[in-house]
Amino acid sequence: MNSPTPLLSESTLPRSARRLSRYATTLAWLIAPLVVAQYLFFNTDSFPVPYGMTSLLAGLEWTLNQRLLAAAVGVLPALAMMLALLAVGRICREYAAARLFSDAVLGAYRRLAMTLVATTALHWLQPTLLGLALALTLPPGKRFVTLGVGSDDLLLILVTALVFLLGSVMRVAQRVQSENAEIV
């Protein structure tokens, strides 16, 4: 009788999962320093300032205080994204070790969903918080705060919902796997 084909072979999921884990972990540790560097040293035109403030700040040289405040605000969603990427890296490492439905994978999916919620919320609030931070440095009469929802925010909400759903499916899959393990 032929022996059954292994579920995971060396040439498919494990290799790609290991590679993806390396990319996700590397990006996770780079993202926050890059965001801080962007706010401290780069052109301010690309900063996500609130819409109404763009004209107020046009042509003005940002002070160090403004840049530091902007960096402090900008690094928050970056830190949340870092935690999300580290969770992705953990999931990929487990997959590379052929542990598809382990407790570590389920825990990582839960962490990924939570950090995506945080990323979505902080991404949505970032222009508002940035406007608030900058308003502190602007003269009276030129301070205001805005709040809005963009298509990026809706896309993040959709991705977060999908990850929550995937986590639920993985829990069921773990139960099915443990039942199958008791069938010889």
Binding site: M1, S3, E179, I183, V184
Partner: protein
């Protein structure tokens, strides 16, 4: 459990070791031991077929159904 596995009886009749049978049918010795002791939730037809082929027996020689009342009477 109402289903009794008589695999150890067939192994003794055919004078075969568990380790050898496990290797021939492609399952681990641990799983075969669990099967012998009835501590599994199910058996695949492919596994059953392989066991019958190597032990030259029928599925009925390996599996026996004893309803709950008869099972407790048989054990005493």
């Amino acid at each position: 459990m109402p289903i009794t596995v008589n695999l150890d009886v067939m192994l003794a009749r055919r004078k075969m070791r568990s380790r050898d049978l496990a290797e021939k049918i492609g399952i681990s010795e641990q799983n075969l031991s669990l099967l012998k002791s009835g501590k599994v939730k199910g058996v695949r037809f492919s596994t059953l077929e392989a066991i019958c082929q190597h032990l030259q027996c029928q599925p009925g020689d390996l599996l026996e159904y004893l309803p709950a009342g008869e099972e407790s009477a048989a054990s005493t």
